[in-house]
């Protein structure tokens, strides 16, 4: 009898579709319904992109790295472009930087709405899932109109951007944003007042500020626990110095706070998108880039929708990089699952996983 109670019961979840439509493998050890430990295995669709980048030239790598993730493709292309430009000593023109920021914020809107749908689905609230994904189509249309693509917008080139914005395009973006802002008010109301929904989020997956820092959380997941860290504010890049954003924080640290922080960030994105459209600097879209990048190392950080995206780029002076390290936000945030699982009900695990906005293609780069 004594031996029986000491043995762990392990529930494997995944690798096929562990709550989400992407592969990852989790093993939860449980005592009854209560989780006592968790481990993660990733890499089921690892593509070896960091290695492949060493065998392609600087321009080809832009397109390769953009394909690390279909949700935050612009974040990768932007972090890479800014890093390579820094190594080459080139600065993209102000209009290009403003358009980069504009697309980055539009991408954040699409990413947060996508996440809202996924987490609503995990909570069993499929109506909210369908509404938020229907509304997300607005932003997908805006992005397609602006760049020609729904995903992998390919708006960056080394030294600038290739998409421009005229008055008609600006009006189309404003109309989309106006519609979404009204919808987002509604979502904020649901996330903070729907009784059934709150029972899945309030007090679930709690991390204190100290714990969030210890686990190394980033992005909205950390800001929901009052960790004041946002690369857009701390180390402004692209045009964030001219069009600053406010950091969105919450002190509660539970799933509800993660919903509130992400939804509030949407309002901030709408505001800054309008501001950029109203005050878009005139001028060139690209600066001239050399084919070979001079020897050196640089770090390029940006705030992707899921948190800090970290690029370390080393050039050996040739037309190919020596090494590109990509540290994505999701790999940091997975610690919220392994770190806070203990003591929760097994049924809360999908919500805690969805609540950190996991991106498996981020990890399996």
């Amino acid at each position: 009898m004594e031996n029986e109670t000491r043995e762990k019961f392990i529930i494997p979840i995944g690798p096929q579709h562990p709550a989400l439509k992407e592969p990852g493998h989790f093993e939860f050890s449980v005592d009854g319904e209560t989780v006592t430990g968790a481990t993660v295995r990733l890499g089921y669709v690892h593509r070896g992109i960091e290695k492949a980048a060493e065998e392609r030239n600087w321009v080809q790598d832009l397109y390769l790295l953009e394909r690390i993730c279909g949700i935050c493709s612009h974040a990768h292309a932007l972090a890479y472009s800014l890093g390579v430009e820094k190594l080459a000593g080139v600065t993209a023109p102000p209009r290009a930087q403003a358009i980069r920021q504009l697309v980055a914020e539009l991408e954040r809107v699409h990413s947060h709405l996508l996440w809202l749908g996924v987490s609503a689905h995990e909570a069993g609230f499929d109506t909210l899932f369908m509404f938020s994904w229907r509304d997300r189509e607005t932003i997908m249309d805006v992005l397609e109109g602006l760049t020609g693509n729904r995903v992998n917008y390919s708006v960056n080139v080394l030294g600038g951007v290739k998409a421009d914005i005229d008055d008609a395009r600006a009006d189309a973006i404003r109309r989309g944003i106006d519609f979404l802002e009204e919808r987002t008010q509604h979502y904020l109301k649901i996330a903070t007042s729907d009784e059934t929904f709150l029972r899945r989020t309030r007090g679930v997956g709690y991390t204190s500020r100290e714990q969030a820092e210890e686990l190394g959380l980033v992005g909205p997941t950390a800001r929901a626990a009052n960790v004041a860290r946002d690369v857009r504010v701390d180390v402004p890049y692209a045009a964030y110095t001219d069009f600053p954003v406010q950091m969105t924080l919450d002190t509660r640290g539970d799933l509800e706070a993660r919903f509130v922080v992400r939804i509030r960030e949407l309002f901030e994105s709408y505001r800054v998108v309008r501001q950029i459209l109203d005050r878009l600097p005139a001028g060139e879209l690209t600066a001239r880039m050399p084919r070979r990048i001079k020897e050196g190392e640089t770090v390029s950080r940006i705030e992707a929708p899921r948190g800090e995206l970290f690029y370390f780029i080393k050039s050996n002076g040739s037309d190919k990089p020596e090494r590109i390290k990509v540290r994505t936000p999701s790999i940091c945030n997975f610690a919220v699952v392994t770190g806070t699982a203990k003591g929760h009900q097994l049924a809360d695990m999908p919500m805690i996983l969805a609540g950190m906005d996991p991106c498996f293609s981020c990890n399996d780069r």
């Binding site: 993660v40 295995r41 690892h46 820092e213 210890e214 860290r229 020596e322 940091c332 610690a335 990890n363």
Partner: protein
């Protein structure tokens, strides 16, 4: 605090273990240390609440040994007898960020039997990074709480490390 002051604080904190320092960019500081001093250096940064661990990675200098001719750390490794005469080093990089400032702890390791101590006892968040480092570069992280593969399959051949320069994709 200004970025310069933040970097100066880190430089002072890390002084006991510093074998060399350089500023590759205005907001960055590279601190060269011995691999044996890693945990002590990280503990010091942690105790002073200096920034957060941003990333861990490594570089492979296969075929580029000449650039280390003047490097005291490399000479010490050669003298230890752990490196063959034609060997090339690996370099482990630990990035810490505080606002705009980035400090990189850099350690040279021999390609054969590269090992480094785990910092998970100080920063539990390093676990995933250490798993990735060990499977991709073949650097053993001693006493890391979970030494299992993170990305590579279970049946991946032992001793093959994809991010080393001698790994040729598709030809293994």
């Amino acid at each position: 605090m200004s970025t310069e002051a933040t970097l100066q604080t880190a430089q002072a904190l890390l002084a006991p273990w510093t074998k060399g320092a350089r500023a590759p960019e205005p907001d960055r500081l590279d601190v060269l240390i011995d691999a044996a001093d890693l945990t002590a250096a990280v503990q010091t940064l942690h105790d002073a609440r200096w920034g957060y661990l941003a990333a861990i990675t490594a570089l492979d200098y296969l075929g580029k040994t000449a650039s280390f001719a003047q490097d005291a750390r490399w000479q010490a490794l050669m003298a230890s007898g752990r490196v063959p005469a034609d060997g090339a080093p690996l370099e482990a990089l630990y990035f810490f960020a505080a606002g705009r400032a980035i400090v990189t702890l850099r350690m040279l390791l021999p390609r054969e039997g590269a090992a480094i101590a785990s910092i998970c006892g100080i920063l539990p968040s390093a676990s995933f990074f250490e798993r990735e480092l060990s499977e991709m570069f073949g650097i053993t992280v001693t006493e890391t709480p979970d030494p299992n593969h993170l990305f590579l399959p279970e049946n991946w051949p032992a001793g093959v490390h994809p991010l080393r320069k001698d790994f040729a994709p598709g030809r293994q």
